[in-house]
Amino acid sequence: MGYVDEGFSIYDLSLWVEGLGVSLWIFVVSSIIGIFLGVSIGLIRYYRVPFIGKALMVISEFLKNSPVLVQLFLVYFGIPALFAIDMTPNQAAIITLSGNTAAFIAVIVISSIQAIDKRQLEAARSFALSEVVILKRIIFPQSLAIAMPMLVSLAINQLQVTSLISVIGVIDLTRVGDIVTQRTFEPFIVWPIIGATYFVLAKIIAIVGSRLEKKYSAYRVTT
Amino acid sequence: MIEIKNLHKSFGDLEVLKGIDLTITPGEIVSILGGSGSGKSTMMRCINGLEGLSSGSISVDGFDVSNKKELQAVRKKCSMVFQQFDLYPHLSVLDNITLAPINVLGENKVDAKERARALLMSVELDDKANVYPAQLSGGQKQRVGICRALAMYPDYLLLDEVTSSLDPEMTAEVLVILKKLAAEGITMISVTHEIEFAREISNRIIFLDEGVILSDLPTEQFFSKDGGKAEPRIAKFLSKMGE
């Protein structure tokens, strides 16, 4: 038996930090892109733009109702094969998660806009306010307030989903857990720590989220 | 016999019942009147343990309401009919009536169902046995509620504002049945706003005001000028209610 079972070292701590960094980076970037995409899709569907609207709706339904892991495989293995391009695991992760997040955000956008009393919007339009101004000053603040709880719970969910990128080779927090466990054979130490890290991150999002909810609840005017 | 001794009940800082002493003997038909917030519903809910007592005691045929072990015995003796009907939405009318006899009294299913149908017939709802509460009108639901209560062979029938959620027509439906029951000799304690009805069927009127019993008199006396009406607050209440 020439294989030496290494214990934990300070190197593992730095691995943990790196993995955490990668997970957070991909989470943040895909969330931001997802929000932009999602809001655009949501508005396109709210304003009933023909063709694109319906097409986007069909695609988002499939993104919302199929496993993210399969979507990751599709992007990481499928697209490079079809288009003969190269893609790193990290790129595939960001592309997939952005699209997936966008699909959920689009739904939240639509339902929170629809939750605003139509009569307000009618009144605004009757005053010949431009649609852009209406969007900015009337729709946006109120729908944001309505959407906040849903957005927070989506964020927590998408954070967990990032753990799947480890399967396509991204060296994220979960992959670090895998690497360290394979080396030290201490799943009872490694995995609880990884789990706890995700747990704490989720709780941070929840706390920030509830502060934001309180802040924006002023905009929730119910006539 | 129901004995209430020095009953006090508070909800947080608000004292709703401020020392009630009351005895009700079998065969009496008692109506409890009073304004909103007088504590009448609360008092009745204390009798079958739906509200806990802050202090004092209530015993039903010797069983202490505050004693967890004796509470079940109390509940078997008292059946309640509720203002909001509170029928079990997921069960048919028949099952609503037979559920307690089968599961609490241990009656067998066949007998329970037979009795339930007889009760339904007496309130003219025998054709609704397999229908669900959501398909019934308010008056019909309350009649089912009464059957559900009677199915338990109660010694005491507790009626908690049973017509307050009904329109005049349905109220009349229900009162007809209650009149019949009163004539049959059941002990009835009824919290109600229906003054005329109370006058017609009860032999005793208890008037509650701000958590205390202001008057406890036989019906005739309560409604007479030098009896109940002598008390200014009662006179005011009665005139507000159109008496």
Partner: protein, 215 residues
Amino acid sequence: MAQYLPAFVEGFWVTAEVSVISIIGSFIIGIFIAMMRVSQNKVLNTVSGIYIDLFRNIPFIVLIFFGYYGLPEIDIYLDAFWTGCLVLSVAVGAYVGETLRAGILGIDKGIIEAAKSFGFSRAKIYLKIILPIALTTSIRPLGSVFINLILTTSILSAITLNELTGASKVIASTTFRPFEVYVFLVIFYGVLTFAISGLISMWHNRLNQYNGEGT
């Protein structure tokens, strides 16, 4: 590509088996968690609260790796299939518990009081009134939890279970046509989800038509 159909179907059956077993397991666990969560007993309440919090905030893949690599260390040797069923049942049980808790709390208090007033024991109130009503009104949200469970089974491919996704991976690499295979798989899961959620909606409406909760 049709020659790969049997492999695909086999994967589908594994997915179906894991799903059914885990749905039953998580359902049973969920009922107990929900009852604990609404109980007056502080200990039961807190413990179930922690259980729910834990399993809702830790990624499933972390849980499955913990189970798959950790259980052998304490001399429990389950294969990928049963590890998957176990972890899924425990983890999804938290979601079921939370959903049923909402269902229980949503019951009109008057109905429960009426039952109490007739002398039913606590157990009978739960069995005959609370659980039947909560379950009936919760069919749609529970359905969505279980559909999610089915989608989550795909993660078991990471511990080498030959379910639908795992089988598809093999097909994709042997045919060298990953794009087609995975597009097909996405559509397959999507259609499956759509069909199941349609059935569940119908079932929910039918059972709830008499208590104002249908549609």
